[in-house]
């Protein structure tokens, strides 16, 4: 027996290692947080990723500029017009904000808590296609913590999965490990936004499940976070309803959603720190 084991020592070791890794995988699926060793590795790799990412983006930018010079000139003109219009709008918005504040004070309303936004750059992305995560260049030193929501100007992107001092990993909404409690902005129907169903024709799409047959929801509706899960603040735009589909048994329906954020082109994101006062610099508030 001993001779047999000695003969196949290498195979047995390999088998043992593989078994251990299998068990490890199963036990760490729902894991939050990282160990000191992982933190150290992320701290080493993140700056290198940042350098390569920035280099790739400048190459890409250069190629786009060369290819579409005429288009860029036209777009520049259009953006300048839009900026001028936005400045007018901003002035009006400031007026409304002041008016709102004044009216709230008159009515003794509690001021709604503002969220601090930490601007971050996406430095890396899991290229395998099996998991949907990105790495950002802000970590615990900048105020990022686990489970904080991550947004773009278009809508909700995901939440912080793990944090190291200078970098964090963000689990995207399109990852099958993520689900968000959500509702229809127009009708306020509660429900859950799950993950993309296996659909090669529509990769990266979301679906809102557990909707009763008579749910007041229709194509074009905006879906927002309900704030019930405790992770995501209420009112973040998740996506827009494309179509309603009946579940297999016909008791419930689900809505196919087009995500508000473009997950294929994530470059700059904001980490939402709920209830924190707005800070200076690159950070803002909403």
């Amino acid at each position: 027996m001993l001779a047999f084991l000695k003969k196949r020592k290498r195979m047995l070791t390999l088998f043992l290692v593989l078994t251990l890794l299998l068990v490890l995988t199963q036990r760490t699926v729902a894991r939050q947080g990282i160990t000191v060793a992982e933190e150290a590795l992320l701290t080493v790799v993140a700056p290198v990723q940042g350098v390569f990412g920035r280099f790739a983006r400048s190459v890409e930018g250069l190629l786009i500029s060369v290819k579409g010079y005429q288009f860029l000139v036209a777009e520049n003109r259009r953006l300048q017009d839009e900026l001028a219009a936005t400045l007018v709008l901003e002035a009006r918005l400031t007026e409304f904000r002041h008016e709102n504040h004044r009216l709230r004070q008159m009515l003794n309303f509690e001021a709604r808590s503002e969220h601090q936004l930490i601007a971050a750059e996406v430095v890396a992305r899991d290229p395998s296609g099996w998991f949907q995560t990105v790495s950002i260049n802000k970590g615990s030193l900048h105020g990022v913590a686990e489970n904080l929501a991550v947004v773009t100007s278009e809508g909700l992107v995901g939440s912080v999965l793990a944090v190291s001092p200078v970098t964090s990993q963000v689990l995207l909404l399109t990852d099958s490990r993520r689900a968000v409690s959500a509702m229809v902005q127009r009708s306020r129907e509660p429900g859950t936004v799950g993950v993309v169903e296996a659909n090669a024709d529509l990769p990266g799409y979301l679906r809102m499940i557990n909707l009763p047959r008579d749910a007041n929801i229709q194509p074009g509706d905006t879906i927002i976070s309900s704030g019930l899960g405790g992770i995501y603040p209420q009112g973040l735009v998740l996506g827009y309803v494309l179509e309603m589909v009946e579940e297999e048994l016909g008791l419930l329906r689900f809505a196919l959603l087009r995500p508000a954020a473009n997950f294929n082109r994530l470059e700059e994101v904001f980490v939402v720190v709920p209830g924190a006062a707005p800070a200076q610099g690159s950070e803002g508030a909403f």
Partner: protein
Amino acid sequence: MGSIIIFLLITVGLALQGSFFVLISPGSVHPDLILVLVVALALLSDSKRGALIGLAAGLMQDIVFGAPLGFNAFIKVLVGAMAGFLAEEINRDFVLAPMLLVMFFSSVNDLLPFLLKEFADIRQSFSLLQYLQHFSPVRLVMHFFIMGLIYPYLCRAQKRRLLFPQAESSGK
């Protein structure tokens, strides 16, 4: 010295894989540079070293990209060990053999995650067929050419005993 070079290779591979290749890849299909490195290094050493490199590279990949710990490590250990078993069977100076072998291991690398996700009870975003249709063919070609680019350099480094000082410098 060899371990440091391999660690640096894997670190740069991970950094490139998560940033540069993600931005410039066609149709959201990205090469797995770590797989190519593990196969190349295993073919230049043996199954034991191949499995060890696979373990280290896979664990680093899990940590850096936020996959469940052990997910990529399992695949890379298996690939590293299998490639290492074949190390003695190929002519290490002949670059076409590693280029063809990496295509085989690329298929293994695309097939195993599906089974692992089923085992770990992680909801699948794609069916296996959809994944293989969308990602695998392009990735096979990418890995074939990347291996052709990097293998000669690694082979030359090994001839100077920079990677595995105690291993034989050439196979059959």
